[in-house]
Symmetry: C2
């Protein structure tokens, strides 16, 4: 199967962006390809469509599985493995967030906490600790929020989207009521 121009452009774009989302170009392309392809694909089809080596595909698959972004299908009487996205677009985006949090934010929080537990030995360290404290709080807030968003039901999400620029207003309203 060969990609149409439009689909090819999309896959290549995923490659460019992929490197910014935590994996490399090829893996981004693989991910994009699997997303826009209706039927699950074999490793050879992927290698073919992207003009990359079979070995490279194998490594990419391993990586995408470690991100929990793809799953394996089997067809009875066929020994090949067929790969497809693991879930909806929203599911996949959530996975990427979760994994990145695990790989980037969690270790940072841990380092910051360790650092903040020890007493500051001088003014330089005192100032540094203040800054680290701010970073720590920011990261905690962000993660609390993102996990909150992930927990929402599709309907709540819908509702949230439609709220759009209104969240400020709802907050004001809430504050007004609580004061009474």
């Amino acid at each position: 199967m060969t990609l149409s121009d439009k689909n090819f452009a999309f896959v290549m774009h995923c490659g460019e962006m992929g490197s910014r989302w935590g994996f490399n170009r090829t893996i981004g392309q693989m991910c994009g390809l699997l997303i826009i392809t209706k039927e699950p694909m074999t490793a050879n089809e992927i290698a073919d469509a992207l003009s990359i080596s079979r070995g490279n595909v194998s490594m990419g698959i391993k990586e995408l599985q470690s991100w929990r972004l793809i799953k394996v299908h089997h067809i009875p009487g066929d020994r090949k493995e067929y790969y497809a996205p693991a879930g909806t677009i929203w599911d996949m985006a959530n996975r990427v967030f979760e994994e990145r949090k695990k790989r980037e934010i969690d270790p940072t929080l841990s380092l910051l906490r360790d650092n903040l537990l020890e007493p500051a030995n001088n003014d330089d360290e005192k100032f540094a600790q203040q800054q680290m404290h701010e970073i720590h709080d920011l990261l905690e807030t962000v993660t609390k929020w993102s996990s909150e968003l992930q927990r929402l039901s599709p309907e709540q999400l819908q509702s949230l989207m439609k709220l759009g620029s209104g969240i400020g207003k709802v907050l004001d309203f809430k504050d007004k009521i609580l004061k009474k």
Copy 2:
């Protein structure tokens, strides 16, 4: 000036993480260093503290300026340039988000829109377009939301954070209000 062990560890960690946030290791280190250092630093001091070349610092500064993360200070009677973070931690995080949106999400949205405008020529393209449509909507929602959050006043943010068990409550609240 030489860094304490603890501060050095933090700076190195910023280096590791930096590469995941859009810049490279050295630039991450520079950013971390400037954040935990109370006084603005000269390019030579930075090169010294991180054991990197003067030229490298110059390039890093240019990059950090393009992200609007640092600003220049001048001391009367001194021709050197002194660098310091441009704003609070929250300001800096916002800048990184904005810049990444500009560099990653906006071009993707534009590609997706172009693609969705053209008619699908066959079933493969039709399916691909459906998927692209979902990605498009997801990205739009995310960007709308993040810009919304950035617009909130610090007090509103505070209020939002304290909501405890979450955004779900805000939604319930909004629904209650709308029904009346």
